[in-house]
């Protein structure tokens, strides 16, 4: 052992200065690099950055495809007993409860547009005369909360068949009396639990839950369940949606 060189701390430090400086330099550089990455991430500035936003939008579209592949057309959302219905069921919209549209039942007509053979508009009476079904399912909001509700109405796939919709088309779009709009994929539209809902908790759909007609899709998040529907259109051109156009994921399946 080189005993003589270890005479004191100072001597030891001097002897190894080069090595210590090298280690410190490497540490500083790598530390600085990771601190920079951290600073970059901690603000919301990055989301405002155009390139980052484009990447995030791209991944969101990839996630649309992933979800479409994951979607099993025969897998049913869990149904619950009536006793588990959430009371009171929450109201949610992009506006306040006081702004809920008042749709006149007598003059109401459901318009059909796009790739549909029989475009004759439907009245509420005609819709109510179709075979009805009901479900108690969980409504999940993109915000995170969920609530169990009971919806009744016409199975959407039956309705689409009846009016001669082109079920090979990609999208179904919805226009609403409150200027809301959204769209879903054909596979989800044909899912057995997707309903054109006319009732909530066995009563006529209340205004705040979408009178006179809403779409009930238990395999999608709440904002994909449009209320106050006035027109339905079948198309191959991506229709987007009120929230979707602002950055919310389009498929938004459950």
């Amino acid at each position: 052992m080189k005993k003589s060189s270890l005479g004191s701390n100072r001597e030891w430090l001097d002897a190894n200065r080069k090595e210590i400086v090298q280690i410190e330099r490497r540490f500083f550089l790598k530390g600085a690099f990771s601190m920079g990455a951290l600073a970059l991430l901690s603000g919301c500035d990055l989301t405002n950055n155009e390139i980052t936003q484009r990447i995030l939008n791209g991944v969101s579209r990839l996630n649309d495809d992933m979800q479409a592949k994951l979607f099993d057309p025969s897998r049913l959302a869990q149904e619950y007993p009536d006793s588990m219905v959430t009371k009171p069921f929450p109201f949610n919209a992009y506006y306040d409860r006081s702004k809920v549209p008042a749709v006149d039942a007598a003059s109401y007509q459901l318009e059909l547009l796009g790739l549909i053979r029989e475009k004759k508009p439907w009245t509420l009476k005609e819709l109510a005369a179709l075979p009805q079904t009901s479900q108690v399912t969980r409504h999940i909001c993109v915000e995170g909360w969920s609530a169990i509700g009971k919806w009744g109405g016409v199975r959407f796939s039956d309705f689409l068949q009846r009016v001669g919709a082109d079920t090979r088309a990609k999208f179904i779009g919805f226009k609403c009396a409150d200027d809301y709009y959204t769209s879903i994929d054909m596979a989800t539209a044909l899912h057995p639990q997707t309903l054109l809902a006319l009732t909530f908790a066995d009563k006529t759909l209340p205004a705040e839950y979408g009178f006179p007609l809403r779409l009930r899709v238990p395999t999608k998040l709440g904002f994909k369940n449009p209320k106050h529907i006035t027109a339905i259109y079948v198309t191959n051109v991506y229709p987007g949606g009120y929230w979707e156009d602002q950055g919310y994921n389009w498929f938004s399946g459950c």
Binding site: M1, N16, E19, I23, L46, N63, Q78, W243
Partner: protein, 227 residues
């Protein structure tokens, strides 16, 4: 010979583990900061996370970050788990964890007497790292259940339906953050361990066997700490 002493390197982390570690650090950071913004949209409890501590600007932005970074998190941890199992990395580094050793190590840690051995984990470290790996698995599983409670119904059912999975996701996050707090604090307290997660080794000076301590003057701990 110009070199007066020889420093010895103890190899601690293979390059792949270091890459996976820092990728994971980035993924977890983004998942947590965006997750807190998502939590704020509909808080489970009577508190919200401060806005400045969140990522995404608003709910849609936070969701985009969360559902983009989840792929990196899943891929990165899958590679890590496969590596850990196949190469025996977990078996060699994390196991066994003896209960009595854990008790002793915990007592020593709380009285600041626990020594750090480069290249080998003490029982406390072992149990913490096993917990972290487990918590990340729980986070991914509960996250997927919250995301797809219908398509992945089996998973969601196991965790107590959608709302159960959501709670599990929150508490697994809280526990993982507890781990991160300890982990980061320890790394800063013993900087050579932080350094070794970059370089893959810990450079030690005291290579002399204990017997020779009687006639070799060892640099004081102050000098040692400078490393």
């Amino acid at each position: 010979m110009s070199h007066t002493i020889k420093s010895k390197s103890v190899y601690t982390h293979p390059l792949l583990v270091r890459l996976l570690h820092w990728t994971n650090a980035l993924a977890i950071l983004v998942m947590v900061l965006s997750g807190w913004r998502i939590y704020n949209a509909s808080p489970l409890f009577d508190f919200s996370f401060p806005r400045w501590l969140t990522l995404g600007g608003w709910l849609a932005g936070a969701l985009q970050w969360h559902f983009a970074m989840m792929w990196l998190l899943i891929i990165n941890n899958s590679v890590y788990l496969a590596y850990g199992v196949v190469t025996g990395h977990f078996r060699k580094k994390f196991f066994p964890v003896s209960k009595s050793q854990l008790r002793t190590d915990l007592k020593q840690a709380l009285t600041c007497k626990l020594r750090h051995m480069p290249g080998a984990y003490n029982a406390l470290q072992r149990s913490l790292y096993i917990s972290a790996v487990f918590l990340i698995i729980v986070l991914v599983v509960s996250g997927l259940s919250t995301w797809k409670p219908v398509q992945l119904h089996g998973l969601a059912w196991f965790l107590g339906d959608y709302e159960g999975a959501r709670l599990v996701h929150f508490f697994a996050m809280a526990l993982l953050m507890f781990f991160v707090a300890i982990h980061v604090a320890m790394a800063l307290l013993v900087p050579k361990t932080l350094l070794s997660m970059f370089t893959g080794k810990v450079v030690t000076v005291a290579t002399t066997p204990p017997l020779q301590l009687t006639y070799v003057e060892i640099p004081s701990t102050e000098a040692g700490d400078a490393l």
